[in-house]
């Protein structure tokens, strides 16, 4: 009995050893104290003449004594190399702590690098085990990443915090959508889909911030042909793409009252559905968008809470949304870049046909598809249902 137990223990230890000692170098020698790591939160990638320039933004807490009253601090460091990996390893030469990329949350890619081709710049991030694949990728519009980081990372306001705030609050306008590295990898792997990444713009003080520092704004998407950035302005396409991707969480649509005053509608819910059909060998995709919104502001004293007026407002809202969607579809068809995901719709509806006929010539087929956009606007909430101030005494009528 005892012998059996001993054998069991030995067997257990051997089995455990086999599991544990796989990659034993990491297991046994992988011990690192946390404070010896440099917590990198944002990485910028820029193209330079002889390779690549990596800019890292670190986050740290420093305290005077034993952890009391820690102060947040951030450092920006750059290194260059022929490849991304070489540039990253070059940090080892001059930083006092081990650069740890496991906490990178934002990857900013300079416009020039994006135009040069994304793959060679993100391959390291896709391959390295330390890096999380859910980090968010942004394209820096009309600037390089280092410039954006340098101009916006301040002593008390880190670019990481700004990016986090912007991405967390993006639902308010739905003008862009964060795209993870893993999603980027998936789209790049898919031969018929085109990549789209949110765009960062550097904004000057006059654009809204009161201090002298510069800030950033994320608006719209950068569209890629393969792994190369298409040089066009597509800021206005932001919400249109989100309508098509069913990513709209909220947003403001301004319509006109019967007397021409502005009325602000808040999108409170939306849903987009696709229907693909083939009629006389022609592919037709119907995009059905359902919107639910509320009236949040009326810039006059007129009473708009009548059935006719509400219907009129809904019609205007529907037209605006339809216009935003149509613009995006037209752009996609013109550029023959399927960043709207039409191929997925057809693939799911006609999988065999797609594999046999459409897949190899999808770019050509995309431009010939007939898109029918149907919007179902619905104003369901008016918050304060009362008529506007002074509407009863006739002002505004």
């Amino acid at each position: 009995m005892k012998i059996q137990t001993s054998k069991k223990i030995i067997l257990l230890l051997l089995t455990s050893s086999l599991l544990i000692l796989t990659g034993c170098k990491v297991a046994f020698f992988g011990r690192t104290e946390m404070e010896r790591n440099e917590f990198i939160r944002v990485v910028g990638i820029d193209k330079i003449d002889e390779g690549v320039k990596i800019t890292i933004v670190t986050e740290d807490f420093s305290s005077q004594k034993g952890g009391t009253n820690p102060q947040k601090k951030s450092n920006v460091k750059t290194a260059e190399g022929k490849t991304v990996f070489e540039a990253i390893r070059n940090f080892w030469s001059f930083v006092d702590k081990k650069p740890f990329f496991g906490r990178v949350e934002y990857l900013l890619i300079g416009e020039e690098a994006a135009m040069d081709g994304l793959l060679k710049y993100i391959d390291f991030f896709c391959r390295d085990s330390e890096i999380r694949l859910n980090l968010k990728v942004f394209i820096v519009s009309e600037a390089n990443a280092q410039e954006v980081i340098a101009k916006t990372n301040e002593e008390n306001s880190f670019i990481y915090d700004k990016l986090r705030g912007i991405t967390e609050n993006q639902w308010g306008n739905s003008t862009f959508q964060k795209v993870d590295l893993i999603e980027t990898m998936y789209i790049l792997d898919c031969e018929y889909l085109a990549l789209y990444l949110p765009c960062i713009h550097l904004i000057s003080p006059k654009d809204g911030v009161l201090n002298n520092s510069q800030s950033i704004m994320v608006k719209g998407f950068a569209i890629f042909d393969g792994d190369k950035l298409v040089l066009d302005k597509h800021e206005e396409l932001g919400r249109g793409i989100n309508w098509l991707k069913s990513n709209i969480q909220s947003g403001v649509i301004v319509v006109k009252s019967p007397k021409g005053a502005n009325v602000s509608l808040e999108i409170i819910d939306s849903n987009t559905k696709y229907e693909a059909k083939i009629i006389e060998d022609k592919l037709i995709i119907t995009v059905k968008v359902q919107i639910q919104s509320s009236i949040n502001e009326i810039n006059s004293s007129e009473d708009i809470f009548t059935a006719d007026t509400i219907k009129n407002l809904e019609r205007q809202q529907g037209d605006i949304v339809k216009n935003e969607i149509t613009k995006v579809i037209k752009y996609a068809q013109k550029k023959k870049l399927d960043f709207i995901g039409a191929a997925d719709v057809v693939l799911h509806k006609f999988p065999i046909l797609f594999e046999d006929l459409y897949k190899d010539q999808w770019e050509e087929i995309l431009s010939d598809i007939k898109f029918d956009v149907i919007v179902y606007p619905n104003i369901i909430k008016t918050y304060d249902i009362r008529e506007p101030n002074r509407s009863k005494i006739g002002e505004g009528k």
Binding site: E35, K65, G66
Partner: protein, 508 residues
């Protein structure tokens, strides 16, 4: 051979004391023999009295302090000296007849034919009446030594429940149990253990409920105990458990009669040791060590939440330091960034690696706990204050440890204190060392390995034929109503399956 099985030992009689006394048949039952066996102890009172008109000699022997002299005077000496029948007795034979007929007003008297019994009786506080001429001895139960009154339990205080506790006197304890379990099926069987101490032990169970096989095994184990004295409970405990090389407790000790009786009713076997206010309950499994008496006093929902919390805290006290070492030194990426940054900031300036910090604080904490236990109560409090100040504030300010490690060790310790059973709590403390060491070497792999070893160890343990992990393994898995949660009493209609009780139902 390193491991020797108990079964190979030659079984001896449970009472070695008997073996050292002269053979009962040959020895004469007279004063001289008894006195010579008892020795010249100053507390041995021996007096010859002459009764009746014929001045018939009778010797009375008892141990001063053990026997109640008032009882002896009023109920033995007074009838002998004053009763008319005794006065008129013509010879010793007549006196013996009268004693046998009950003319000494004593309900608990025995005619002893064996010198060993006489000696044991006297040493237990009885009084011996020796008739040298006839070689006859009567013993009277005059036990009357000082005993502690029944008081509130000191180690198992509860708010909503009985406030009585066991005392050092076996008979008082059996009476307390009888008072709570007024059933004729309650069996109390006495044993004597200890060559020199002759300690009485009583096995308590309910006939028709308690498993007779377990009673038999327990008796055998008690019979096999070969020791000079039972002056600590460990002597008994070590000999009645199955796995002597495990730190995990295999018996429950309690000073609460209600807990004792509840377990006996459930089908377990109780053990009372004379001289200790602690009783034992067998067989018990891991689930029992996480149950507290109050679980059954409060609302079942409240009790269930507390019970669940206790299970959670069991894992906390066992795994938390190891887990912290693992993630802080091997798997940083598991820690949310903001928390990681806070930990990093708190560790600034601390010269030791995390595992050294944890081990250092654990040792310091164990030292403080030990010091607090050994010192008198008032000074013990001072130690805890000094400990808190020194370990807590000073160590952090001196950058010897980081505040996070301090919190981890404190949470671990406090979680440990919530365990209802001190033995179980100690077992977790010991196993925690393994978890810390293996985590220090290979991180979460080490933690997993330690968990596997612990699970293997516990899976291999059996207590009186019952798997130690009951009710979480085997058929007992069906009876989880009183395990992680405590469901209403209406659902607890069956006794634990593992106990293999004769009557399996609690409620009809």
């Amino acid at each position: 051979m390193i491991f020797r099985r108990n079964g190979n030992k030659k079984i001896k009689h449970n009472n070695i004391f008997y073996d050292e006394l002269p053979d009962s048949i040959d020895a004469k039952l007279n004063t001289q023999t008894i006195k010579s066996l008892l020795g010249d102890g100053s507390d041995v009172e021996c007096k010859t009295i002459f009764i009746g008109d014929n001045r018939l000699p009778i010797t009375i022997i008892f141990i001063d302090g053990l026997a109640d002299q008032q009882l002896i005077s009023d109920f033995i000496l007074k009838p002998l000296m004053e009763d008319k029948q005794f006065k008129e007795a013509k010879n010793i034979k007549k006196v013996i007849e009268l004693v046998e007929d009950g003319y000494v007003y004593f309900s608990s008297q025995e005619k002893r034919l064996n010198i060993k019994d006489v000696i044991l009786d006297i040493l237990s506080g009885n009084t011996a009446l020796i008739f040298d001429i006839e070689n006859t001895v009567f013993t009277f139960d005059t036990k009357g030594f000082e005993k502690r009154a029944i008081s509130e339990p000191t180690g198992e205080n509860i708010i909503k429940g009985a406030k009585d506790s066991f005392v050092e006197n076996l008979r008082t304890n059996t009476a307390t149990i009888r008072k709570k379990l007024k059933t004729h099926k309650l069996m109390i069987k006495d044993f004597t253990i200890g060559k020199e101490s002759n300690t009485k032990i009583a096995i308590v169970y309910i006939k028709g409920i308690g498993n007779e096989n377990i009673v038999k095994i327990l008796k055998e184990r008690l019979d096999n105990i070969n020791i000079d004295g039972v002056l600590t409970t460990g002597v008994i405990e070590e000999n009645i458990i199955d796995n002597k090389y495990s730190v995990f407790p295999q018996v429950i000790y309690t000073e609460r009669p209600d807990k004792f009786c509840a377990n006996v009713i459930e089908g377990r076997i109780g053990l009372i040791i004379d001289g200790f206010p602690i009783t034992y309950i067998v067989p018990v499994t891991i689930g029992s060590f996480l149950q507290a008496p109050e679980d059954y006093a409060y609302n079942y929902f409240v009790s269930s939440v507390i019970r669940f919390l206790r299970f959670f805290l069991m894992f906390t006290t066992l795994l938390l330091p190891g887990f912290y070492i693992s993630i802080a030194t091997f798997h940083h990426e598991m820690i949310p960034t903001q928390l990681a940054l806070a930990i990093t900031a708190s560790k600034e300036g601390v010269p030791f690696p995390t595992f050294v910090e944890v081990i250092f604080l654990q040792i310091a904490f164990e030292i403080l706990t030990e010091a607090g236990l050994r010192l008198p109560q008032n000074i013990g409090q001072v130690v805890s204050i000094v400990g808190a100040v020194v370990i807590g504030q000073a160590a952090v300010e001196a950058n010897l440890v980081s505040p996070v490690v301090l919190i981890i060790v404190a949470v671990t310790a406090i979680s440990n204190f919530t365990m209802p059973n001190q033995d179980f709590s100690n077992a977790l403390r010991v196993w925690r060392i393994l978890f810390v060491l293996l985590s220090s070497i290979i991180g979460l792999f080490g933690l997993s390995l330690a968990s596997i070893i612990l699970l293997h160890h516990l899976s291999n343990m059996e207590v009186y034929g019952i798997p130690y992990l009951v009710p979480f393994v085997g058929e007992e898995g069906k009876q989880l109503q009183d395990s992680i949660f405590r469901l209403p009493f209406s659902t607890l209609y069956k006794r634990p399956i593992g106990l293999k009780t004769i009557n399996k139902k609690r409620q009809d």
